[in-house]
C-alpha cells in the first residue's frame, strides 16, 4: 500500500497531490530564478520576467534583466525538463526491463554520446560545422541502434537487452578512450571530462524549446502505454495474454526513451542518479500503477533537478560544481530516508 492512498485515498487525493507538485515546481523555479551570484532585487526579478512577457515595461538594468530571463529562467526550465525526462525514462526502463537498477543510460546512450562528443572535439569530424551536441546526439543513437540490433539478434527479452546495453556501453567507452589516448592532448582530455560531467551552464532558450517538445511528446506516448506497462510487470507472457503486442510496445518505448535521453545527454552531459532513484521515490509516494507513477516521476524529477541546480550554482563562489556531483550528494541521503521509511512501512 502506498503512502498517498493510505493518507488520502481516491481521486481527490491525487488531484491535491498534482496541485501541490505544480505549486512546488513553481516555487522551485522561482527560487532558481531568484538565486545567483549577482545580487538582484526581488522586484527586478519579477519585472524582468513580466517585461519580457510583454505585461509590463519597467525600465531595468540590462544586465539584470538578461541574467534573469536569458540565463536563470531558461536554465531552471531546462533543468526541470531534464529532471522530468530522466526520471520518466528511468521509470519506463525499470518496468520494461523488470530491473530496479535500470536507468536512462542502461541502453548505452551516455557512452555513445561521449564517443560522439569526442569525435567532434578530438578528431574534428564535421570540420566545425557540426556542434558538439549534434555529434553527441548522433553518437547516442548509434549506440542505441547497436543495442537494438544486438538484442533483437539475440531474440529480445529483458535480460538480453540489458546485456546488449552493457556491451554497447563497454564498446563505446572503449572507443572514447581509444580516441582520447591516441589523438588528444591534455587540454582536450580536460575539455572532454568537463563536458561529460554534465552542466546546465551552456543552455539557453533554444535548448528549452527542444527539450520541452521532446519531454512532452515522450510523456504523452508513455502515458498512452501506461496500462501496457502495468502488464509488463507480470512478464512478457502475461502481457501478451492481455492482448498487448509485447515486442511492438517495447520497441516503441525503447525508442522514445532513447530519443529523450539522447536529447538530454547531448544538451547537458550525463547526469546520474536522477533517472535511477526518482522512480523509486515516486513509487513510494503514489504506488506502482503507471497512470499515477509517470506523472509523479515527472513532477519529482523536475523539482529535484531544479533544486540540485540551485545548489550547484551557489555552493562554490564564482564557479559551478558539476551537476552530477550535486544530484548524487543530495540525492543519496534523501533516498536513504525513503528506503528506511519504506522498510518500516512494509
Amino acid at each position: 500500500m502506498s503512502f498517498i492512498s493510505r493518507k488520502f485515498g481516491g481521486q481527490a487525493g491525487l488531484g491535491l497531490l498534482a496541485l501541490l507538485s505544480l505549486l512546488l515546481l513553481a516555487l522551485a523555479i522561482g527560487a532558481g530564478v531568484g538565486t545567483g551570484e549577482l545580487p538582484i532585487p526581488l522586484d527586478t526579478t519579477y519585472f524582468a520576467i513580466t517585461n519580457r512577457l510583454g505585461w509590463t515595461a519597467v525600465p531595468l538594468d540590462r544586465i539584470h534583466e538578461s541574467v534573469i530571463w536569458d540565463y536563470r529562467l531558461s536554465r531552471a526550465l531546462v533543468a526541470a525538463c531534464c529532471g522530468a525526462g530522466l526520471a520518466l525514462c528511468g521509470a519506463i526502463l525499470q518496468s520494461l526491463l523488470r530491473n530496479p537498477l535500470a536507468e536512462p543510460y542502461v541502453l548505452g546512450v551516455s557512452a555513445g554520446a561521449s564517443t560522439g562528443a569526442v569525435s567532434i572535439i578530438v578528431l574534428g569530424l564535421g570540420a566545425g560545422t557540426v556542434t558538439l551536441s549534434a555529434g553527441a546526439f548522433a553518437g547516442s543513437l548509434a549506440a542505441f541502434l547497436f543495442v537494438v540490433l544486438l538484442a533483437s539478434g539475440a531474440r529480445g527479452g529483458a535480460d538480453r537487452t540489458i546485456l546488449a546495453g552493457v556491451a554497447a556501453s563497454q564498446l563505446f567507452n572503449a572507443l572514447t578512450s581509444y580516441i582520447v589516448s591516441t589523438s588528444a592532448n591534455a587540454q582536450q582530455a580536460r575539455d572532454v571530462m568537463f563536458w561529460l560531467l554534465g552542466s546546465f551552464g551552456g543552455v539557453r532558450w533554444p535548448e528549452f524549446q527542444l527539450v520541452l517538445v521532446m519531454v512532452i511528446l515522450g510523456f504523452a506516448i508513455c502515458l498512452y502505454y501506461a496500462r501496457a506497462l502495468d502488464a509488463f510487470a507480470f512478464g512478457d507472457d502475461a502481457a501478451s495474454s492481455l492482448g498487448i503486442s509485447v515486442s511492438r510496445v517495447r520497441v516503441i518505448l525503447f525508442a522514445v526513451t532513447a530519443m529523450m535521453t539522447a536529447t538530454i545527454v547531448s544538451m547537458v552531459g550525463s547526469i546520474g542518479f536522477v533517472g535511477l532513484v526518482v522512480p523509486h521515490a515516486a513509487r513510494f509516494i503514489v504506488g506502482p500503477l503507471h497512470m499515477r507513477l509517470l506523472p509523479a516521476c515527472v513532477a519529482v524529477g523536475a523539482i529535484f533537478m531544479v533544486l540540485a541546480d540551485i545548489v550547484s550554482r551557489v555552493i562554490l563562489p564564482q564557479q559551478v560544481l558539476p551537476i552530477g556531483v550535486v544530484t548524487a550528494l543530495i540525492g543519496v541521503p534523501f533516498f536513504s530516508v525513503i528506503l528506511y521509511r519504506a522498510k518500516r512501512a512494509a
Binding site: G128, T131, S183, N185, Q187, R204, R313, Q318, Q319
Partner: protein, 345 residues
C-alpha cells in the same frame, strides 16, 4: 626557417641584425586607434566603438598579455590560471580581482559589469562553452575577443590543439598582442611589447649561433606516477619551438601535441638534455621538479642515460610548454642552464 640554411657566421650576423632591429624599434610609434574598430576575430566580425574600460580576461595568457600592455586599471576581473602570474606582473595583477583560478560562471563575469571579455580558449568563450557564448556578451553590448591561436578547436586547423604539421611559432601570439593593443588604443605599447619579444627571440638565436652541438631535448611535463608513461612536449608544439630556438631539436618526433611516452621509449631516444617542468599545480607527486629529478637519478634504467649521468637535467616553468608568452621565458630559463652545462659556448 631561414636559419638552418645559413652557415654559422651568417646566421650569427643575421641574428645580430635582428637584435639591433628589435632594439631600434623599441620606442615604437603606432597610429592611435580610430574607432569604430572592426576586426575579424576567428571568423566573427567584432566592432569596438571605444576603448574598453572594464575588461575581463578569461585565461592566464590573455590576462598576462593585458597586464603586459599596462591595462591593469582597465581590468575588472581575471579567471582560469593554471599557474602563478609572471613575477614582474604580480604587482599589477594585485589590482585586478581574481574571479576564480578555474572556469568562472557567466554570472560571476557579468557581476563585474564588463564592457569587454577576452578569452584564451574556446571552452571559456565559444559555441560549445559552458561559460559564455559570444551572443551572451554581444547581446549586452559587451565586446569579446578569442585568442587567434585557438580559433579552430578542430584538428584540421592545426593550431594549439591536436597535432600540428609544422613547427609552432610566436606569430599568432604577436597577432593577439597587436589586436588587443589596438582594441585598447595602446598600439604604441603593443608594438613595444612585440618588439621586445622579437628581440628576445633573436637574442636567444644569437646566443646559440656559435655552437654546433645540436642538442636533443626531452621535455617532461609530468606523469601520474613513475610507472606510468610520461606526458612530454611534442615535436611541433611550444617545446619543439624552444628546442629549435636553442639550436637543437626535440628528441621526440611524433607530431602529437602532448605525446605520452614510456620510459623505454624515452631511453631509446638518448637525449642530450632532459628538461623537467616545474608546475604550480599539485595534482600529482611528479608535478614537482624535485620529485622528477629524484626519479631520474634513482631509477635503475633511466639513471644510466648519458644526460642523467652528466647531470644535464634542466628545470623549466611548465607553463612555457603551453603555446603562450611564457614560452619565451622558458627558453631563456633553459638557455642559462645549457650554458652552465657547457652546451652553449
Amino acid at each position: 626557417m631561414l636559419a638552418p640554411l645559413l652557415s654559422g657566421r651568417t646566421r650569427n650576423f643575421v641574428a645580430l641584425g635582428l637584435v639591433s632591429l628589435g632594439l631600434m624599434s623599441a620606442p615604437a610609434f603606432a597610429a592611435p586607434t580610430s574607432y569604430p574598430l572592426t576586426l575579424d576575430n576567428c571568423g566573427v566580425e567584432v566592432t569596438f566603438d571605444k576603448a574598453p574600460e572594464r575588461a575581463v580576461a578569461l585565461g592566464q595568457n590573455s590576462a598576462e598579455i593585458m597586464l603586459l600592455l599596462g591595462l591593469e586599471d582597465r581590468m575588472v576581473g581575471t579567471a582560469f590560471w593554471p599557474s602563478k602570474v609572471l613575477p614582474e606582473l604580480a604587482e599589477a595583477n594585485e589590482k585586478v580581482k581574481l574571479l576564480t583560478v578555474e572556469s568562472p560562471s557567466l554570472e560571476a563575469i557579468l557581476a563585474e559589469r564588463p564592457d569587454f571579455v577576452a578569452a584564451q580558449l574556446p571552452i571559456l568563450l565559444g559555441p560549445d562553452s559552458k561559460v559564455a557564448k559570444r551572443e551572451d556578451l554581444s547581446n549586452l553590448d559587451i565586446g569579446n575577443y578569442l585568442s587567434p591561436g585557438v580559433c579552430g578547436t578542430r584538428q584540421d586547423t592545426g593550431d594549439a590543439y591536436g597535432s600540428r604539421e609544422s613547427l609552432w611559432n610566436m606569430d599568432l601570439l604577436y597577432q593577439e598582442i597587436d589586436e588587443l593593443s589596438q582594441i585598447f588604443d595602446v598600439a604604441d605599447r603593443g608594438q613595444e611589447v612585440i618588439a621586445q619579444f622579437k628581440a628576445r627571440e633573436a637574442a636567444l638565436r644569437a646566443r646559440v649561433a656559435g655552437s654546433d652541438t645540436d642538442p636533443s631535448f626531452v621535455f617532461w611535463f609530468s606523469s601520474p606516477s613513475p610507472q606510468d608513461d610520461a606526458y612530454l612536449g611534442g615535436k611541433n608544439g611550444a617545446s619543439g619551438f624552444i628546442a629549435d630556438l636553442l639550436g637543437g631539436h626535440n628528441a621526440i618526433t611524433t607530431e602529437a601535441e602532448w605525446p605520452t611516452v614510456s620510459w623505454e621509449g624515452i631511453v631509446a631516444t638518448n637525449p642530450t638534455v632532459i628538461v623537467i617542468a616545474s608546475l604550480d599545480r599539485d595534482r600529482w607527486e611528479l608535478d614537482k621538479p624535485e620529485a622528477k629529478r629524484a626519479f631520474l637519478t634513482s631509477d635503475p634504467v633511466v639513471s644510466q642515460l648519458e644526460a642523467v649521468k652528466q647531470g644535464h637535467i634542466a628545470v623549466m616553468d611548465g607553463q612555457a610548454m603551453n603555446p603562450t608568452i611564457r614560452t619565451i621565458y622558458g627558453a631563456e630559463q633553459l638557455a642559462d642552464q645549457l650554458e652552465a652545462f657547457g652546451l652553449i659556448k
